[in-house]
Subunit: 132 residues, 2 copies
DNA sequence: CGCCATGCTCTCTTTTTGGTAAGTATAAAT
DNA sequence: ATTTATACTTACCAAAAAGAGAGCATGGCG
């Protein structure tokens, strides 16, 4: 999605584009982003800690998201063979760098919040006004 | 999701956080991103042009995504009352700036493509190796 | 007259996603 | 002997998202 001027020297290879889109699709979901945020602030967390830090997430989604992050190389999972079980999660450098990259979108959203809310109101007003 | 060091002067208000997350959820989907890319490269497109530029998108999804972008203030929709119908879409400044913000993630994905693919292979190998 | 082009909109079906709840393993504590 | 804690996994079900395909409006064209 880069601005033309910002695109890397490499030519726009459609195959690369598709791959990048797929990666973004896998990586840019709500829970992954939240977990990256949590793990950036507290670099080493157990499963239960993460669950408490993500209000509203179900165990299933948490497990699923963490497994996905592990698969994509964003986080590591360390199992201590003790009982009761203990498992720790950390971001990899890759995960950390994704957090930084996503930072731009986060700041954009924060900065343009008011504009977007106004746009929604305008849109709603137009919808209500024109049909009659 | 900002890095602690990069967070804006404003304190981390949880209400703002939730709003920002919601905005990102609405704005950061596959088709919206693709459309922003297309409309950045070719600033004024008709519906049919956009459909052709997004291989695999259904009419329904295209309409739906464009309406969403209009609602959030990312794009404008101009209807020419002719027959057959003619409708033109353009990015707003907000839409353009989102493209720029998202550029960071795009570049991250492009730059780390190989690393991620390797991570996936490693993960798959670990899965295949340990169960037995 | 009949057909085409365009940008939808509507309905129906399939796929995907996510929630809930129960089950598992095991050592230590009571 | 029973309970507790932890990190899952599995089965089942409901809701949401997406795809397929038909229908619509209408002026110009042959």
């Amino acid at each position: 999605m880069p601005h033309p001027a910002a695109r890397q020297p490499a030519p726009t290879d459609p195959a690369v584009d598709r791959l990048v889109e797929e990666i973004i699709g896998r990586v840019a979901d709500k829970w992954t982003m939240l977990l990256i945020e949590v793990l950036t602030e507290r670099p080493c967390c157990r499963f239960g800690e993460l669950a408490r830090a993500c209000p509203g997430i179900s165990q299933k989604m948490l497990t699923q998201t963490l497994r996905g992050m592990e698969r994509e190389g964003l986080a590591t999972r360390t199992v201590y063979p003790v009982v009761p079980p203990k498992v720790e999660y950390r971001l990899t450098d890759l995960g950390l760098s994704l957090g930084e990259a996503f930072c731009g979108v986060w700041l954009w959203a924060a900065a343009n919040r008011a504009t977007i809310e106004q746009a929604r109101r305008d849109y709603a007003a137009r919808q209500a006004g024109s049909p009659p």
